[in-house]
Every structure is written in structure tokens, then in C-alpha cells.
Symmetry: C2
Subunit: 252 residues, 2 copies
């Protein structure tokens, strides 16, 4: 199954979710490919793939200069492979504007993929890279920080998903909304979480990822949190998320 | 003086800094214009300007359909005006690609401005909206979250600033780097702060903005934190920042 991890609001936990969900799915025995579609390249760094070891990115695949297999590298996690991000990716947004089938380039390039799961970590925007990801996948997972500003962008994102579903990708659905950086002691966090569940109902995952400093320490060691500290609350939340994702991902 | 609040890393405190620094500068008696150049429109919402009250945005100004004065609205803060963001702004990135002087559109549009300070809140990307802001201003202010992933993007941002300075805007300089969401009890936060000061030296502001829940509560009331809770640590940090900014902003 193909899943894009999307939210145009910045800093809500997209990359942290993509890395740790991918790791948890690989740990359950599945073969997983993580595509880093963000020019910042945080998913690539967070998995310990050094900038010097990144020869090709999704940019080369999308512009037709490399196959998906050429661009795929192993990670330190068994069962988890990565298509890293390189600096060239920051030029993709402008360059894609003039290209044929500009919204379908990623979808076309990913047809040869044979992994059980393919996750795409998206940049904080609704530009051409994110739109390509929305056309290329069957499901989206929306990390949502339990903060006021993060709530504001949700309707804009859902409207974009509807437009993609009505247009280039009719099978696009929502795998779920994941509340991140929650804090039981914080009134605002609890209020936002309650609001989202009231509005979005069963689309919100049961598990919430608590604010947990171990999640933000792990990338500085080039490791997923599940490897860096399996027993911390953050890792345990992502293991529970993988269980919920597997339960929801029953093939159509 | 014109300042762009920039960092392509998401969720680092750009909007929170833009709103509260603008308010603190206005409170010191200066006339201030805040331009919301982010399609998310968080700065507009955080200042209580309802979506229905936003008729024109920087999009209309940049594409030539409105003057800066037409697009400017008052806020509840004396001395502080706003050019709000509307949903049309999310189309600007793609539409600007085909336009003449595409990097200079904002600079050209802002020549008629007469405020003492003009701040631009940028989206989390280095696309055409942010590039336009970098060409239109004399200084940039970089909010930097005291986290590992946030540190990674700094060199990419500084390289972009150098390219703009070597090309379309030779007068572009760095007003300063502001450490945000710092936490004295958190080892990683202290380590990142020490790293940044070691590398960037005097360009880093003395004041650091601590993690303070009152800063994230204020926008849900449509108020800057300085108005919502003047005495909280977050507001006091932004008042100290305004003092440092005024001291650094000695005209050339
Ligand atoms: N549950 C959590 N608890 C504590 N820190 C977290 C948590 N989730 C993520 N972080 C940290 O918060 C910051 C933002 O998370 P992350 O980079 O994953 O968000 P993002 O949505 O991918 O950001 P961007 O929009 O820039 O791509 C990072 O420094 C990360 O380490
Ligand atoms: N010092 C702080 N302490 C606590 N919360 C903060 C602080 N600064 C900002 N926040 C909150 O953290 C979140 C991210 O901040 P903000 O939206 O200002 O960042 P941004 O860089 O503008 O994000 P984006 O990249 O999406 O534009 C918001 O919910 C905000 O209310
Ligand atoms: Mg990310
Ligand atoms: Mg912002």
C-alpha cells in the first residue's frame, strides 16, 4: 500500500512519523520503502544516510534520469529501504511546472515498485512535490500537532485531497489523522484533540503521540526512535500506530 | 527597515516571531506593517483578522491587481497594520513562474511603503514567495528551533541568502538568528544553542525565546501574546528581542 505523510503546516511531525512508522512496519516483517520528497532531506538524515552517500533522489526519478531501483539505498533497519533527498530536489518545484503530465510524474515512476509498503515524506507545502505524492498514493496519513495554528490548515488540506480525488487520483483516501506532540497537562492540547475527534470522528487514530524528547534526540544519532530507545513513550506510540495502520489497511 | 522572517524548516516559530516582534516594535512607538506571505495565513489569523475580512492579499499586489495601500488593513494593535493572506496566495508559486521580473514583483510593489518597519512572514519553503521576500528586504531574521532537524537546514538557508546577495539583492544582510522554543532542562536544546552560538557568533541574538504555552494559546484568541499576556516569559522575550533589533538596526 502507498501512503503519503502530508500536512502543509510546518513542524507537525511528518518526518518523525514517516521514519518511525516505516521502521515499525519493517519490524513487523513487511518490506518498506520510504521516499524522502522533502528538499530539506530530514528523513534521509534521520535514517543515517549521509549526504555524501546520496547519489540520486526522487528528483532524478521524476525527471526520468534514473529508475526507482537506481535511486533506492538500504538503511540500517532490516526491511527498510530509502529513496533519499538531495539538494537538487529544491529545484524540482519550478522545473516540474513546464513538464508534461507534471502531476503524474511520481505516480508513473513508482509503478515498478514491489515493496509491501511505500511511504512518502512530504515537504510543508501543497506545491508540485506534494501534489505528485497525492496522485501517486492510495492513502494519506495526516500528522496534526495539537496546537491552534495546526488546526487552521486542516480544512485547506482536506479540500486539496477532495480536488485530487475528483481529478487525477479517484482512489485517494484518508488512512487517518494522527495527533502529535500531545500533552495531557496542557489545556490547549486537550481542547484541540477533543475538537479534532468531534469533527473527524473515526478518521482520527486512537493512539496519540505524546511530546517526548527521545523522539527529537534520535535523529541526531541517525537512528529511528524505535532503534534509539524502543521503550520510550514515543516509540511505543509509533508501534501502536503501526498496529492501527495494519488493521485499517485491509485491501479494497 | 524591511525584514523577512525566514526559515524553510517548518514549525520553528516564524509566525509567532513575526506577530510578536511586530507588536513590540509598534508598542515602542514605531509604525509597523506586517505582510503575511504564507498561504496558510497564520499571521492574519493570529492578529484576529477574520478570513471574511480579507479582500486582498500580497498576491493581488504582486500580480499588479491592487496597490499596497488597497491591501493593507488595520489590526487591534495601535501602530500595526497588516497585508493579510488569502487562499489565492497558494496559487502564486506556480503563477509567478511565468511572469516577468518574477523575483522582483514584491520588491517593486513595496516601494510605495512608508512605515518605519515592514516585516514579512514567510512560508516554510525556499520557493518563489520566499525568494520574492528575500529580494524585497534589507535584512532577514532567522528563527531557529533548538532541535537537531532545525540545525540541518541552516546552511541551505545561508547559501540561498548568499545567492540572493550575489544576484538580485546586494544589500541583503542578516539581522540575526533567534533561538526559539528553548528549554534549559533539555540537554539537546542546550547543545544545539551552544553549537549555533559557536558557529554563528554575534549574529545570534542574546535573547532566547523559551518554550511557553501562553505563546501558543494567544492565537486562538486572535491576539498577539504581548496583548494576551504581557507578563509571560514568551512576551518578555519578544520585548527584549525588539530592544536588540532596535539596537542592531542602526541605519547604514
Ligand atoms: N512527539 C514529539 N515529541 C517531541 N518532539 C518531537 C515529536 N515529534 C517530532 N518532534 C520534533 O519536533 C520537530 C518537528 O518534527 P518534524 O521535523 O518531524 O516535523 P515535520 O512536520 O516533518 O517538519 P517540516 O514541516 O519541516 O517537514 C523535530 O525537531 C522533531 O524532532
Ligand atoms: N516559544 C514557543 N513556545 C511554545 N509554543 C510555541 C513557541 N513558539 C511557537 N509556538 C507554537 O508552535 C507552533 C509553531 O510555531 P509557528 O506556527 O509560529 O511556526 P512557523 O515557523 O511559523 O510554522 P510554519 O513553518 O508552518 O509557518 C505554533 O503552534 C505556535 O503557537
Ligand atoms: Mg519534515
Ligand atoms: Mg508560519
Amino acid at each position: 500500500m502507498r501512503v503519503a505523510v502530508v500536512n502543509q503546516k510546518g513542524g507537525v511531525g511528518k518526518t518523525t512519523t514517516a521514519i518511525n512508522l516505516a521502521t515499525a512496519l519493517a519490524a513487523s516483517g513487511a518490506s518498506v520503502l520510504l521516499v524522502d520528497a522533502d528538499p530539506q532531506g530530514n528523513a534521509s538524515t534521520g535514517l543515517g544516510v549521509d549526504r555524501r552517500a546520496r547519489s540520486r533522489s526522487i528528483y532524478d526519478v521524476v525527471l526520468g534520469d534514473a529508475s526507482l531501483a537506481d535511486a533506492t539505498v538500504p538503511t540500517s533497519v532490516p526491511g527498510l529501504s530509502l529513496v533519499p533527498s538531495t539538494a537538487a530536489l529544491s529545484g524540482a518545484e519550478v522545473e516540474l511546472v513546464g513538464v508534461e503530465r507534471r502531476l503524474h510524474r511520481m505516480a508513473d515512476a513508482l509503478t515498478t515498485d514491489t515493496h509491501d509498503w511505500l511511504l512518502i515524506d512530504c515537504p510543508p507545502s501543497l506545491g508540485l512535490l506534494t501534489m505528485n505524492a497525492l496522485v501517486a498514493v492510495e492513502r494519506i496519513l495526516i500528522p496534526l500537532q495539537a496546537e491552534f495554528f495546526a488546526l487552521e490548515g486542516l480544512s485547506q488540506l482536506l479540500a486539496t485531497v477532495e480536488r485530487v480525488r475528483a481529478g487525477p487520483n479517484p482512489r485517494l483516501g484518508i488512512l487517518g489523522i494522527l495527533l502529535t506532540m500531545t500533552d495531557r497537562r496542557n489545556r490547549l492540547s486537550e481542547a484541540v484533540a477533543a475538537d479534532v475527534r468531534a469533527v473527524m470522528g473515526a478518521q482520527v487514530f486512537d493512539v496519540m503521540v505524546p511530546r517526548n524528547v527521545r523522539l527529537s534526540e534520535a535523529p541526531s544519532h541517525g537512528l529511528p526512535a524505535l532503534v534509539y530507545d524502543l521503550r520510550c513513550p514515543g516509540s511505543q506510540a509509533y508501534i501502536a500506530l503501526a498496529r492501527e495502520v495494519l488493521a485499517r489497511a485491509v485491501p479494497e
